[in-house]
Symmetry: C2
Subunit: 652 residues, 2 copies
Amino acid sequence: MVAISVNKNAHPFDKTRLDALLNRRFFYAPAFEIYGGVAGLYDYGPPGSALQANIIAEWRRHFIIEEHMLELDTTIMTPAPVFETSGHVARFADWMVKDTKTGDVLRADHLVKAVLEARLAGDKEARGLASQPVKEDDKKKKKKVKTTAVKLEDRVVAEYENILAQLDNYSGPELGQICRQYSITNPDTGNEVSEPQQFNLMFASSIGPTGQHPGYLRPETAQGHFLNFSRLLEFNNGRIPFASAHIGKSFRNEISPRAGLLRVREFTMAEIEHYVDPENKSHERFGEVRDVMLALLARTTQASGRTEVSHMSVGDAVAKSVVANETLGYFLARVQQFLLRIGIDPARLRFRQHMANEMAHYATDCWDAEIHNSTGWTECVGCADRAAYDLSVHSAKTGHSLVARQALKVPIVSEKLVPEFNKKNFGKTFGRDSSAIQQTVSGFSEEGLAKLHGELAQGSTIISANGKEFTLTSDHLSIERKTIKQSIREFTPNVIEPSFGLGRILYILLEHSFWCREQDVERGVLSLPPIIAPTKVLIVPLSAREEFDPLVREVSLKLRKAGVYSRVDDSNTSIGKRYARNDELGTPFGLTLDFASVQKRTMTLRERDTTGQLIGDIDGVISVVTDLVQGTIAWADACKTLPAYDGVQAVD
Amino acid sequence: MVAISVNKNAHPFDKTRLDALLNRRFFYAPAFEIYGGVAGLYDYGPPGSALQANIIAEWRRHFIIEEHMLELDTTIMTPAPVFETSGHVARFADWMVKDTKTGDVLRADHLVKAVLEARLAGDKEARGLASQPVKEDDKKKKKKVKTTAVKLEDRVVAEYENILAQLDNYSGPELGQICRQYSITNPDTGNEVSEPQQFNLMFASSIGPTGQHPGYLRPETAQGHFLNFSRLLEFNNGRIPFASAHIGKSFRNEISPRAGLLRVREFTMAEIEHYVDPENKSHERFGEVRDVMLALLARTTQASGRTEVSHMSVGDAVAKSVVANETLGYFLARVQQFLLRIGIDPARLRFRQHMANEMAHYATDCWDAEIHNSTGWTECVGCADRAAYDLSVHSAKTGHSLVARQALKVPIVSEKLVPEFNKKNFGKTFGRDSSAIQQTVSGFSEEGLAKLHGELAQGSTIISANGKEFTLTSDHLSIERKTIKQSIREFTPNVIEPSFGLGRILYILLEHSFWCREQDVERGVLSLPPIIAPTKVLIVPLSAREEFDPLVREVSLKLRKAGVYSRVDDSNTSIGKRYARNDELGTPFGLTLDFASVQKRTMTLRERDTTGQLIGDIDGVISVVTDLVQGTIAWADACKTLPAYDGVQAVD
């Protein structure tokens, strides 16, 4: 009997072991390592690159292809006026404080969090309550604040907990006030810190040889979508709603990133901008996700200092106005489906609504998909309703109309006052000033025109234009009531934006996939699902001897034809060691070719998690492993199809 | 009878028409267009993004998967010391001149080329020889220099032609000398230009909040490979040769880019770094490409002022030392295979060898795959032998060993002089200075040690270390001749680098694919091969009426299961107009669903280039179109399988 499940919880999660594995197998590594590295910059090695490419391919399939989104690839280097208009130059900043003696720079909210959490932990210790022991290693790497067992007053504990629950809600001056009130100093030196100052998180540069055209590296891909809105709408034959999608690099000059892939200065994003009629945010496919259950942490819950989630269906959440509209709800469900599909643990996923002060300057509502990991809950996907903010500001700045048009089935009929000019008399009396006067009058409100009408009836009126005053009589114009029939409605679409940080998702997925074998904690395994595993099948010939070459070639070729990506490992080490290496690389299946394979055309199939092995003829095994990789059968099904391999195979 | 070929050369290539098509269908557009645009920055719209994604997928299949390369995704924002070491800070620059009155900036070599070519064209005109008429439109866009019919002396014509043939070979001062000698001024203003000055092409920025860590955006991905060399070698189990590969964005702050996608400031590259033993640059798969014919333009031909290519096989080229080694030859052949596979015209592809002064500072040999287009020959893939340059300089700078090791079958045995220290006496006499003295002596050459040996034999010697002098006797050390057995050979690998500019290839491919229908020049077609076409199959229901919905869904689903990417066009316009739009988008096949489809389950299949139509039952047509898209059959084969459709289909 081959086991079909295995105990993955025999050992508690150990971040140090996972980090060592990821480093050893070159999933990723600090960039410029031989130059001492730069905080917040990482390079992906072969397995990390492949994992990232597979996550991107699945994202493209799940969103762009499945929902017929319009893909873009826009420019990273952006001239300053774009981000002046979008508000990023003024507001895309974090609050930093400086150590008043050393000049070291710290992020203000991170400082408050680290110090208060350490004091709360010290309080627990002093009260004799359970407190996680902190390993020396971890402490050093994460620059955690040292915990001292000091009991706090109950009132102070409550205040600290309240501050921490609302941390994202504070402005810079408020953070400064908290530092003073609670004597928060730089934990590395004990020195006081300065008042918080804003630091803009965009990398600045200059475009062209003259130095006169400042530019920034984009901190998000979104503006590239908005600037192309008119072209996209035309490409979509003028129809709305539709969505654009963009996978690409963005940059944020973080103040002092120390959290591995969770906070970096250069990262791959995948962003969707879904353009929708502000008067109708329903979604035609909402019915398909209505029953999807979500774990929601609403704004109101957080404001009361609590963090427990409500489990409800998307349908209920929209019906009860917990989530603002169908389109936002639809995307929350689709985001969850994507994350679960690539292997995120459903029990460690929640959607947290932004609090009022926390939202980006453009958003009217925002829910973050947060995923739990060894550092706590981390935002991985932001789902914001940006309303009409972006299209409106770019349109106002550039004078380009960024609107959609809708043919009205029933035209809107209305009456209003309209000025009718006698152009001939205008020209005679006012010459070159005529058009300025007419423009001024045309700009009048309904009320203004009514007043003008009354004045003209009494003889004349005086109008200011071009800095002068002009006297108008009924020879020059009349004000008339007309019926206006409007058959086209023009509107600025609202934008619903799901924005994915792929590096964060990739890292947390590695945490959720990692475990150590019950019988040997040194043997780590990454249980990545086949669809995103860097390599699907490892082909392991007994040795690099030439007699195995024809079979290795045959099996490789047949797998390639079946669309299964395999690699051969004929390195000069035992089969067991080769499999252990590939357990660390997350390779789900292994095929062993030995002397029996040459003689009898049989092959064994090994499953990564259970290490169970089956045996069969070469073509039969290829067929089973193809089904396993494509997810059409599970390992339990394979065990019913092929006989178990007992580890001994007769060779004639 | 359905036509299986069509006349694509009825109308001469018209760049204005192609540009209009690419703009209209949003293949790409100037970035930040509504802000007035920025020279050299472009955004890709939906068809351009899809075309790029398909070219990248094919590149990944052809190189990374087929050759088991190790893929990387490294960091764009790079700290300055890396590019100081690589030589880019000092030397990655172009020569620019300034208009002495307006301050306008021009690239020096482009100025010389434009002015001399215009003078030669004017000479031809004056001699009454055929000269291409220049359209007013083109002239304006490309900032071409106005041609005036002025006859030149034969001697001058020869000089100009000689300068143009060697243009890439001149230094900045030489370009300045040419400007003075031939009175070359700014053609836009007639003003004199300044002496050429160097302008570094890297975008500069600053990393972190202190402003003390300058950085550059990488101008190539290559350094990211080299810095990770040790990790890659370990990942490859210490074996060499192997290759790393990286697809990603790079940035060059071009002086005044005016050539559309052919010269841009931000672009997607695909780079391979193949690490090879400098003493053995053979390639194990060379036999597979030995007979591939290449069009080669060698350095020696260009130096004699000529530009005609030699056609020879890769095998011959390497045997005759035209191409330096097998590995470089192998990659030239593989590059050509890739370019032809995605649709580049083989008659418009050549490999040009770099001239000595033209090569990048790191290269020892370099061949460019150049592709002919409406602007002339353009470098699209650079194939350089970078020798050991990069690994050597980074190793020297950082002190990290970047070498490969080879177990020697026969150990190398040699004799040499070795100092043997008496540590005890050393400590007694010299205390803390001991190790510095020993290091100094250990660094001596064979000759130095022999001299020392002689001096010790005569009593004593004086050594300088730590800025002081020390007297050593045979109590402290002896110099002995020892036999050294070396069983591991250590070497710095050489690097062969094929480097692809994907945007240039994409644009030129569009030129090579574009033509206009014989009967109507207004009807443009992009004959993109199915493997890279943005959409493979267009599904065209007669109208958006609901009765077609079930069939549209069925056909879409069956195509998706067969791995064929299709789109539905049910927009409110005639079928003919919808097909014309998709001819412009390069969609190779169309499926029409009409009332007969609903009644009889038949469907018509249209081929883009010939506009020929076939008919069959739905499943039969899906099977044929799947084979067509996968390239297992050609249109001529399909015409034998399915009957021709005469455009009239009976409905009961």
